[in-house]
């Protein structure tokens, strides 16, 4: 009996040695093929639901920016705008301290804060974890990359960390004009690396042309591109980009003047 037990154990162990690495290799190849090899196990468990959670995480960052309070409740505002004048309203459109709202209905308003406030200065760092987790949950959430980079670089002064983060975003979303444009803006404004700015902004311009976009977005990309060319002394190219902008906004004479001055 004991021998049989030992034999079964040896066979079981041999099977494990054969199958476990094979399954692991297959699993890894499967994930690499889908760009998910670096995604932690607990995020892979979420499946496609991680995109929804990522979007919620961005919204949570917005709530944090408003100190835990959501935006104005339009429902209440509509209600107040109609024929109900029994509710008073504070600055965010929430019914409050009304004579017709009994204590029971007022308690939730008193417990949850309702004042509309923004985080200021150094406090804005509190929104960063939610934006960070938004991209960790969904590395294709381009908006979250751009937003995070803005807060990290422009509001918290962590330029290099922000650039690295945008580069990571580009690795995950090489065809995103938004990330290219944001990286170009940062190279132009913060690091004054105009050569790098021209490289990524040109790419952003090319990608933008293949997608639906509004002319204000295009103007932003082209403006930084034009000024980057100008900073590099490539006036002819700068002039050409300024002219492109002026075609987008024919009634705006500023860009025409810029292109003339560049000559």
């Amino acid at each position: 009996m004991k021998r049989i037990g030992v034999l079964v154990f040896i066979i079981w162990f041999e099977l494990l040695i054969v199958f476990a690495p094979a399954i692991d290799t297959y699993d890894h190849a499967f994930l690499v093929g889908r760009g998910m090899a670096d995604v932690p196990f607990y995020l892979r468990l979420l499946g496609e639901g991680k995109s929804i959670l990522s979007a919620i995480s961005v919204l949570q960052a917005d709530r944090y920016f408003h100190r835990g309070i959501g935006h104005t409740d339009e429902h209440h505002q509509e209600y107040l705008d109609e024929d109900h004048d029994d509710l008073s309203v504070d600055d965010v459109g929430q019914p409050s301290r009304s004579k017709k709202m009994n204590v029971f209905l007022r308690i939730p308003y008193e417990i949850g804060a309702t004042e509309h406030m923004h985080l200021e200065q150094d406090q804005v760092k509190e929104i960063i974890p939610w934006l960070y987790y938004a991209v960790k949950m969904d590395p294709h959430n381009v908006q979250a990359y751009v937003l995070t980079a803005y807060w990290v670089i422009d509001r918290l002064g962590k330029t290099q960390e922000g650039i690295n983060f945008l580069r990571e975003g580009l690795k995950n979303n090489p065809d995103s004009w938004e990330i290219n444009a944001e990286l170009g803006r940062v190279y132009f404004q913060d690091t004054k690396d105009y050569t790098a700015a021209v490289r990524v902004l040109s790419r952003a311009r090319r990608l933008l042309a293949g997608e639906e976009h509004d002319k204000f977005q295009e103007r932003e990309v082209l403006s930084f591109l034009a000024y980057s060319y100008k900073a590099l002394g490539q006036d002819e190219k700068a002039r050409s980009v300024f002219l492109n902008i002026s075609k987008l906004f024919p009634n705006d004479s500023t860009m025409k003047e810029k292109s003339k001055k560049t000559l």
């Binding site: 944090y64 429902h75 209600y79 509710l87 204590v103 939730p108 417990i111 804060a113 960390e161």
Partner: protein, 256 residues
């Protein structure tokens, strides 16, 4: 009184004997430890998401302990037959229900205090005066929340099986936390029959949302006004008393 103390003591010993609360405490320590080890772009002093997550965890885990402990008390006594020698002593059925409620409140409060202490150590070591008041209010609201949960669970345990009781209480908790605002809006904006139905639901269902100070605590808002603390305390006492009264009446009529 002696009976109640004996029942509470018995439940306390059960809390020490069972591993549930220890496992949840370890889970909490691991999760908070993991979160506090996270860094974001070398930015220092990010704390609000930890407070947010920690407070939610404390409330949720205490809720789990309170529900799972209180739900099995009366059905287990009936199933094992230990309820008969208990009732053979000069103990009324109402006193038994009340004793179980007191025991549930005591054990869930002990667990809550432990978890809350861990949260304070992790997230509020440098709390200012206003935050200390808010922390004290959160603690008080936490105890009241657990009293309410215990009362609801003991009430259901008189006529439900343990699993049904746990499921219903969990559903009720998530429903009230998520949809209480919608019910209130329906009362304020609706008219006629619909408003009456939502109104009845709003006033009858237990308002677990009244005890949630997460936003205030996380985002360092001012403490809750005193009249609100008094109103919530009165609400808790009245609601619990009502539930225990009906639980006593139902248990009194129950054929054992």
């Amino acid at each position: 009184m002696r009976v109640i103390v004996a029942l509470v003591r018995e439940m306390f010993l059960e809390l020490l004997r069972k591993k549930d609360s220890y496992v949840l405490l370890i889970l909490m320590l691991v999760l908070l430890g993991f979160l506090s080890a996270q860094t974001f772009f070398d930015i220092e002093g990010i704390s609000r998401y930890m407070r947010d997550f920690g407070y939610t965890l404390v409330m949720l885990l205490s809720f789990v302990v309170a529900v799972t402990f209180s739900a099995r008390q009366i059905p287990a006594e009936i199933e094992s037959g230990t309820v008969y020698p208990l009732l053979a002593k000069p103990v009324s059925r109402f006193m038994l229900v009340f004793g179980k409620f007191c025991g549930a409140v005591v054990i869930s409060s002990i667990t809550f205090t432990l978890y809350f202490g861990v949260l304070v150590l992790f997230c509020f070591t440098a709390a200012g005066k206003a935050e200390l008041i808010l922390l004290a209010q959160s603690f008080l609201f936490g105890i009241m929340f657990l009293s309410m949960v215990s009362a609801v669970t003991v009430f259901f345990s008189v006529f439900m099986t343990t699993s049904a009781n746990v499921a219903i209480t969990f559903l009720m908790y998530f429903f009230m936390i998520s949809f209480s605002d919608i019910l209130r809006d329906a009362i304020l904006t609706g008219k006629g029959f619909v408003a009456s139905v939502f109104g009845a639901m709003y006033y009858l269902l237990p308002h677990f949302d009244f005890f949630d100070l997460r936003v205030r605590l996380t985002h360092a808002w001012d403490p809750v006004p005193l009249w609100v603390v008094a109103a919530v305390t009165a609400y808790t006492v009245v609601y619990c008393a009502g539930l225990l009264f009906f639980a006593g009446r139902l248990f009194g009529r129950k054929k054992l």
